[in-house]
Symmetry: D2
Subunit: 346 residues, 4 copies
């Protein structure tokens, strides 16, 4: 659990001078600079240097050591302090994501279920002013006996929807075996919450040359989200959009607890754009608009919401999908809050 | 864990007819109506009737019983379905709380530390358009070695601040021994998160004849919050304000996770006003304004925030307090989001 | 969130020399010793001194400060490092609690419901080799419409049970107004999980001159449990028994998640005895014996379990109560695991 | 969130007869049997039938519907109620896993770092009576800048260790591209916690013809663990070992909270063997033995622990690894608790 290039080794009150010296010696042996800080009760030793070297020392196990406290933050490339300070922004077929002047409204059905359903929703998205269209071709499902998506045929439908409406398409990649066909069609590749720490997938996605929408794992800290982004960024792909989608807590009134406070926290600590998915956390469409307005008001760079022509007939997550016929008014009300924060729809 | 007046008893696949009959017999013995529903694999038995009677049966322990699933919600008086359907609203010295047309902006120092500090902040609150003023006289602290508040002298200072500014005063009651002096001075009595399930305190507070601001416990579900409100409501006091203040989760980037989704959920299920405390969840003033804007946009009936003249010198929770000199602009920006939701400052 | 007498102030990479100097100056102004540790990317400043003084500085709010990291642990009197190193042990009417040679088996009904029920269980407890008897007179209940215990008449019944069996009695105090009658009858005063941070109650309990069984709050960290113990210890009462009883997590298969890992952690960091309550976490009697065996094997100083003559008829928590007729065999199996750890039944 | 073949639709108190009839009609239209249960306040409708059909109805979104409550459990093949009732047991090169008569002690280094280190530990494992040997070839790491394992060369070293000691080898598969070389060498294929819901990986693993050790995700419920097992079982592979390894909670004193209560819960509800990994939850070797003893006492089918010759020099997770020189005594003490539960070392 030692991260970064700086840490503090705290000795127990009973630690002997020899034990303190042994820690210092081990640190200096790998070229790490050590500063001893005697206190009233305990001695602490500050260590500054190569993180890999220090981690390998396993100091927590040495006699007399009470705690090893990491001080530097463990993410590097995603950090606004360590990497570039200006917010990252980029264009997806003309829609600017990031940069604090736009609000990116991504909407569409949970899953592509048929050509008719998808094109109908696509038309409503376009009419309502959406920035991009979402739609799942492959769906990771908790039970193997649930509907898993149409697969490749869904990609063709998404391509047709894009051609018809001009809306860029966001869709999830769940299996590296499908990386190429997905990358061929999709404008933004989504990595789902359950795959946030599927490092094999992150590395593949980092190499596909497409923007990536990386969802926070449902029990991942924001630090771990930023380290997962580092996996993509280190492949040379700096077009990464982070997405808060709700975390798992003891509360079951809502399906997940949307951690909106993570948005301003992330905006302080990373240069990457940050959007919010209110649909999966809510699990109930009556909560989706309030959460979307809140996401706009809190300073998010956008939202991604589920919309359907006929949610009652949807094969997946129907209860949380907005009605397509209500989408334009929904978009207007959310955009009004974004406008108060100086943002226009992307 | 059986709640309410309706439940479903699910038998195991191996349950015998005799075991099913025994459950039915026990239900009917206490006057509860039972409906047997045979299924392909298991039989379920619906039970409708007096909840105390059914709970006492301890059906989960009977042979052949797999699960007892409560169906009705367990709160009664706080429910918008079971109690009155119209939102509750009331006036605190002219400031209307609840009713969906006002936004109540409660602000002030974490703790009353001195007469000068408190009056200076009170003036800034009044100038900035606050609805009420907050300030702690008694502070529950995790460690017994931390500053615990001035106690009774703080009440005199709060009374002076109210006289000077006309702002109603919100302050916490932590110990039933102080109930009377606190109720004499304070306009809204706060029950803190750590006392949300201190039932002796809730019953005392229910009898004091003053509006109550009830904070959600840091690991309490919204159902438990509503049941705690029932403790106050059943004493005949229906002027209860619920307050979301952040729950404890695995995430440590923010001090608590502000569960803003609880606000629209509560607005659907209770007639009581719902406000948000963004300061304690954030633990960092840079997050307080975004969270406050989000609270306004999501449809809360108000917020309660900490403000200080000189947060760096505060004895308690300095880092999360807003600067008093920034308060008027803060209030204006938050009010703009409330206005989009059809609300004016109370 | 600054605790203890030692902390590390980490500056942002952009912090200027003037900002660093300002932090040092503020620390030294209150007599705290500051050590500047420049690093490759950021500077850290170690601070050693009076915790109240440092906390009051609110350094997190100063320009250029990124984080303030507490290093010392925040509990004092309960600490085996800062207070006395030998485990605390004491006798409750001949039963030794603490000290690593005994295992304290506390058992009895959830709630005293009648004289007959209580005496019958008491007899079974005595016959089965229990160390003490538990039984609730006052029950804190989530809903105000649930059975709240018999109150004072239950105390008389408990007194009779003790006289009859010789077993010391453990019972919960929920309201400081009942402190004296409870202390008159009860041998060990229990503070329930919901009251772990009811500081008014903790201080009263600290002064009653009786051993205290302090249950961990359902969302309290072990550090907070130890700080709550400090509230009792500072009143001069050092006979405090800590009790792990399950914490609230996302998992709902069991009612709470019993944090058995907290037991060896606590045994390393506090001199106080640590016992386990498996009944409330399980919520199902089929899990109670496995959890009890695990508590014995992990090195706990005892357990507290619920037992009833006729759990199906219990007014409270019936499904988790063991059958009194099975108690002696249960006790024997648990004691066998305790014996492997060098402990005999108290 | 509808699971299984049985559910209860609860209407709001305001639901009209027409709304109730509409729900019944929709259920019956897909061949699901509906039972209307009018209550004092609300009406409930029991639905029994094909789960896919009912899920597709998205009843939660219909007018007048308050809640849809699943009643049947959502896992099928892993269920001891729905699938076979007898515990599954199988032999891994002579070591019997499952069946309640053996205790499987899997031990070894976190990661294969060198031939010498691995063979030395393997010798100690064999001498100490281990049932199998563990060792990582590919390590999923939170940060892309951490040591990721030796990869393929580690597989050769593991093969040599097995030949030398006769101990079957357990190792993790993290990437489906490595499935074949891993399956060629490894006796039990581990799916790590971060991949528990990597369904593409689960399906591949189900087809490899080797026993699988499936770790619970760090924020997965036990129901989700059993549904993940269903992904493997449905490929025709019924040799699946479940592993509790700690969940993420608010508590940070230990790295994760080991949910030992999940073990007896799982033993009641699944026929699959259940083991415990105490090392990753503890994060500190001083806690590993107490947790291991507790796992044995609670009735687990085994444990998997990390052991190293020189943990201070380990590149990964050193502080939680046991010393190889202490292994034999550790094994003896743990086995004593297993013996009390009627189990001998596998």
């Amino acid at each position: 659990m030692i991260h970064g290039d700086r840490m503090m080794v705290v000795m127990t009150p009973q630690a002997s001078q020899a034990e303190i010296a042994a820690v210092v010696e081990r640190l200096e042996a790998v070229g790490v600079h050590a500063k001893v800080m005697p206190g009233e009760l305990t001695t602490a030793i500050g260590a500054i240097g190569d993180p890999e070297g220090v981690r390998a020392l396993a100091l927590e196990g040495m006699p007399g050591v009470d705690q090893v406290i990491p001080i530097s933050r463990p993410y590097k490339l995603a950090s606004s302090e360590l990497s570039h300070h200006e917010p990252t922004s980029f264009s997806v077929d003309g829609r600017v994501v990031g940069g604090n002047a736009t609000f990116c409204l991504i909407a569409g059905p949970c899953t592509v279920e048929s050509r008719e359903q998808t094109l109908a929703v696509a038309d409503a998205m376009q009419a309502g002013g959406a920035s991009m269209m979402r739609g799942g071709a492959f769906k990771p499902r908790t039970s193997p006996f649930s509907f898993q998506g149409l697969g490749p045929p869904a990609l063709d439908i998404l391509a047709e929807a894009r051609e018809r409406t001009g809306l860029p398409v966001v869709s999830e990649l769940t299996d590296i075996n499908w990386a190429e066909p997905v990358a061929e069609v999709v404008d933004v590749i989504q990595v789902g919450a359950r795959n946030m720490q599927n490092y094999a997938l992150l590395e593949v996605v980092g190499k596909l040359g497409k923007p990536v929408l990386l969802k926070r794992g449902l029990s991942s800290t924001v630090e771990e989200l930023l380290m997962a982004a580092d996996y993509i960024l280190k492949e040379g792909n700096d077009r990464v959009i982070l997405c808060e989608r709700g975390i798992r807590t003891f509360e079951t009134a809502t399906r997940f607890t949307l951690d909106l406070g993570a948005v301003p926290y992330l905006k302080l600590h990373t240069h990457l754009p940050v959007i919010v998915d209110p649909s999966h956390a809510a699990g109930d469409r009556k909560l989706v608009e309030p959460l979307s307005r809140a996401a706009a008001a809190i300073g998010a760079d956008g939202i991604i919401v589920e919309v359907a022509e006929d949610p009652e007939a949807a094969l997946c997550d129907g209860p949380q999908q907005l009605y397509a016929r209500d989408f334009a008014e929904f978009a207007e009300r959310v955009a009004a809050h974004a406008a108060l924060c100086g943002r226009t729809l992307a």
